[in-house]
C-alpha cells in the first residue's frame, strides 16, 4: 500500500484524507487521524490497506475512519470506525472484533497515592490470588444455564442484584451496562459453555488491572466532575467478553459466510457482512448485545472484587475510600446512534473496533454530571507508561461519529517484543521505576513491554491536535496486574 503514501493530504492538523480516486474500488474517502509518523507506520504495517478495504464496503456513510492508535488488525484495522445506515445498511462482525465489548473501566477515589504505597504489595498479591488471570484459571463464579441467561439479558443490573455493588454505577456505564437481548436461542451452546465458566475473569494478553495515581490535571473543571484529584489513586480495569464473545463472533462470521459470501465482492473475507434487517443480521446484533452485557457484567464483578481487596488492605469502607465508578467504556462494539450527517440527524450503526465513543458536551445519552464537559475518554498506555483521561468534543461528533483513540496501539509483534526483552527481568525494570508488576506469565510480561507499543503521548498528541478529544488528566501506574 506504499503507493498510497503520496496520496494522503493533511487537510487539518493530524487529519489525513485519502480521496476515493486513490483506488477504484473505494466507494468513499478515507480519513486517518494521526501524526505523520503514525501515518507512516500505518502505511508500513498495511493497516491503511484495511482502511481502504472498509471504504469499499456498500452503504458506508461519510468516510472510512482510523483513529491515532491505528494498527494492523484482520479485515478492519484496529482503531477503525465505520458507520452504516441503521435501517437498511450492513453489519459486519469484522468491524467489531472477536473480543466483543472489550473495554476499560476507571474508578476514582479519595485515597492519597502516598497512603496506597504501603499497601500496594499486598493489594497486588491479593488481586493475583483472588481474580482469575491468564490462561489456566477459570472464573470467580460458575453459573448455571438459567443464571447465565439472566446475565446475558440483564448485564450489570443482574450482577448488582445478585452479587452486590451499587445500582448507581449504571449511570456511568455506556448504555447503562445493558443492551436489549431476549433471544437465548440465537446463542450457540458452545458460546454458553465458554461463557458460563469465564464470568469474572481477567483473561490474558493486554488485559490488566492497574492502580494508578493522577499525575497531572490539564482541565480542572472536568477533572473535578470526573472525581480526579492530583496525587490520588484511580483503578483501571481492561478486559472484555472472554471466550463467550470470541465464540459469538466466530459463530456469526460462519453464519454470514454461509448466507452471503458468494454474493459479496470482498478484498478480505473477514469483512463478510449482512443486511441489518436480514435474519442473520438481526440475530448477530442480538448476540452482540448479549456479549456486550457479558463484558459489562464481567468488569462489574472484577470491580467489586478489587474494591473488596482495597477495603481490606486499607481497613476502610468504599465510602470512606471515595471509590466510585468514573466511567466504563466499550472499544470493540457496534451500536445504533444518532449523528448529524450533512446537516441532517440520521440513525446509524456505528462500528468501533479498537476505538472509543467520545460524545460531546450536552449529549443526552451522557450521565447528567458529565453533560457539561463531555464523555470521559479513557486511553490506557502500555504497561509502565502513563494513561490518559480525555473528554469528547463537538469536533469528534462532527468528524468521527463521536469516536476517539482507545490505547497506545502495538508497534512490535509479540515475537519481536519477547526477543527484545529476552535477557531482561521486565518486572524488576518496572519496579526500579516505582511500578509493582504482578503476573502469572513472565512471557506475557515480555510481550507487553512498553516498547511494544506506540508512545502514548504521540497518540494523545494526535488525538488532541485533531480536536477529537481534549486532555483532562494524565495517570501514572503504581501497580500493574497483567493477565
Amino acid at each position: 500500500m506504499n503507493y498510497l503514501a503520496g496520496r494522503f493530504e493533511e487537510i487539518a492538523p493530524c487529519r489525513w484524507r485519502l480521496g476515493r480516486d486513490a483506488d477504484r474500488a473505494m466507494a468513499a474517502d478515507a480519513e486517518v487521524f494521526a501524526t505523520r509518523d503514525i501515518l507512516q507506520q500505518a502505511l508500513a504495517d498495511d493497516s491503511i490497506a484495511q482502511v481502504v478495504n472498509v471504504a469499499c464496503l456498500p452503504g458506508l456513510v461519510g468516510r472510512s475512519l482510523a483513529m491515532p492508535d491505528i494498527h494492523h488488525g484482520y479485515g478492519f484495522c484496529i482503531g477503525g470506525v465505520a458507520a452504516f445506515p441503521a435501517a437498511d445498511g450492513i453489519v459486519l462482525p469484522g468491524g467489531v472484533g472477536y473480543d466483543i465489548n472489550c473495554g476499560v473501566r476507571l474508578l476514582s477515589s479519595s485515597i492519597p497515592a502516598a497512603d496506597f504505597a504501603a499497601a500496594a504489595e499486598g493489594v497486588g498479591h491479593a488481586i493475583l490470588q483472588r481474580i482469575p488471570t491468564g490462561l489456566t484459571q477459570r472464573s470467580l463464579y460458575r453459573l448455571g444455564r438459567k443464571e447465565f441467561q439472566r446475565v446475558l439479558a440483564g448485564g450489570v443490573g443482574e450482577i448488582v442484584r445478585n452479587f452486590g455493588g451499587d445500582a448507581g454505577d449504571r449511570e456511568f456505564i455506556e448504555s447503562g451496562g445493558c443492551l436489549p437481548f431476549d433471544s437465548p436461542a440465537i446463542i450457540s451452546p458452545k458460546a454458553c459453555q465458554r461463557g458460563s465458566s469465564q464470568l469474572g475473569s481477567l483473561g490474558s494478553g493486554n488485559h490488566f488491572i492497574e492502580v494508578q495515581a493522577v499525575e497531572e490535571v490539564f482541565d480542572a473543571p472536568a477533572a473535578r466532575l470526573f472525581g480526579l484529584q492530583p496525587d490520588h489513586v484511580v483503578v483501571m480495569i481492561h478486559t472484555g467478553s472472554r471466550g463467550f464473545g470470541h465464540q459469538v463472533a466466530s459463530d456469526y462470521i460462519e453464519t454470514f459466510r454461509k448466507r452471503n459470501l458468494g454474493r459479496q465482492k470482498l478484498r478480505d473475507p473477514q469483512l463478510v457482512h449482512a443486511a441489518v434487517g436480514s435474519a442473520e443480521g438481526r440475530n448477530y446484533l442480538q448476540a452482540l448485545n448479549a456479549a456486550s452485557n457479558f463484558a459489562w457484567a464481567n468488569r462489574q464483578l472484577l470491580q467489586e472484587e478489587v474494591v473488596d481487596i482495597l477495603e481490606k488492605a486499607l481497613s476502610m469502607g468504599r465510602e470512606r475510600l471515595g471509590l466510585r465508578l468514573l466511567y466504563d467504556q466499550a472499544h470493540n462494539i457496534a451500536k445504533f446512534e444518532t449523528h448529524e450527517v450533512e446537516g441532517r440527524k440520521v440513525e446509524l450503526l456505528v462500528h468501533r473496533k479498537g476505538a472509543t465513543r467520545a460524545f460531546p458536551p450536552g449529549h443526552p445519552d451522557l450521565a447528567s454530571p458529565y453533560r457539561a464537559v463531555g464523555q470521559p475518554v479513557i486511553i490506557p498506555g502500555s504497561m509502565g507508561s502513563s494513561s490518559y483521561v480525555l473528554r469528547g468534543t463537538a469536533r469528534a461528533a462532527a468528524l468521527t461519529f463521536a469516536s476517539s483513540a482507545h490505547g497506545a496501539g502495538r508497534r512490535l509483534s509479540r515475537h519481536q517484543a519477547v526477543k527484545a526483552a529476552a535477557r531482561e527481568d521486565v518486572s524488576q525494570r518496572l519496579r526500579n521505576k516505582g511500578i509493582l508488576v504482578f503476573s502469572l506469565s513472565s512471557q506475557g510480561l515480555k510481550e507487553e513491554i512498553p516498547e511494544a507499543y506506540k508512545d502514548i503521548d504521540d497518540v494523545v498528541t494526535a488525538t488532541v491536535a485533531a480536536g477529537i478529544s481534549e486532555r483532562v488528566a494524565r495517570l501514572r501506574p503504581l501497580l500493574v496486574v497483567k493477565g
Partner: protein, 137 residues
C-alpha cells in the same frame, strides 16, 4: 518453509503450512497451531480420548478455520490439545477426522481468540497446497 511454521503480525500471530493433499494440509495446520501454543519440543501425553470432527463447508479456507476453531475450543474450554489426527476423508470442501486428544500438562503460550479468514487463501503450486491463517490474539 517446512511443513508448518509460525509467523507474527503487529498485533496477532499466524501459522503457515503446506501439504501434498488436503489431509496433510489440515494435519499440518493442527501441528502449526500446537507449535504456536506449546512450542517445538512439547510431547503430549496420551489419554485424552478422541473427538470426531466432521465439517462440510464452501472451500478449504472454511474447513481450515472450523478445524482450528474446534482445536481452540478443546484447548481453552476442555483443557485438551489435539495430539494427532486421522483423516477418514479430507477434501476441498469437507473433512471427517478423528482427533486424538491429550490433556494439557501446561498452559498454552497465549490466548488465541479465534482463527480468522483474514487474507486466507489455499493455493496450489507444483502439486503442493499451502495456506496461512492469521490468529486473533
Amino acid at each position: 518453509m517446512g511443513r508448518y511454521e509460525i509467523f507474527a503480525t503487529t498485533a496477532d500471530a499466524g501459522i503457515r503450512f503446506q501439504g501434498r493433499d488436503f489431509a496433510e494440509l489440515y494435519g499440518n495446520a493442527l501441528r502449526g497451531l500446537n507449535l504456536l501454543l506449546f512450542g517445538r519440543n512439547s510431547r503430549p501425553p496420551a489419554g485424552g480420548g478422541s473427538r470426531r470432527f466432521r465439517f462440510r463447508g464452501d472451500g478449504p479456507e472454511n474447513v481450515l478455520v472450523n478445524l482450528l476453531s474446534e482445536a481452540l475450543f478443546l484447548v481453552y474450554h476442555e483443557g485438551k490439545r489435539v495430539a494427532a489426527s486421522e483423516f477418514r476423508h479430507a477434501g476441498r470442501n469437507s473433512v471427517d477426522a478423528r482427533l486424538l486428544l491429550a490433556p494439557l500438562t501446561r498452559a498454552p503460550a497465549m490466548e488465541v481468540k479465534s482463527a480468522t479468514y483474514h487474507d486466507l487463501r489455499v493455493e496450489q503450486r507444483g502439486g503442493i497446497l499451502s495456506a496461512a491463517v492469521v490468529l486473533d490474539i
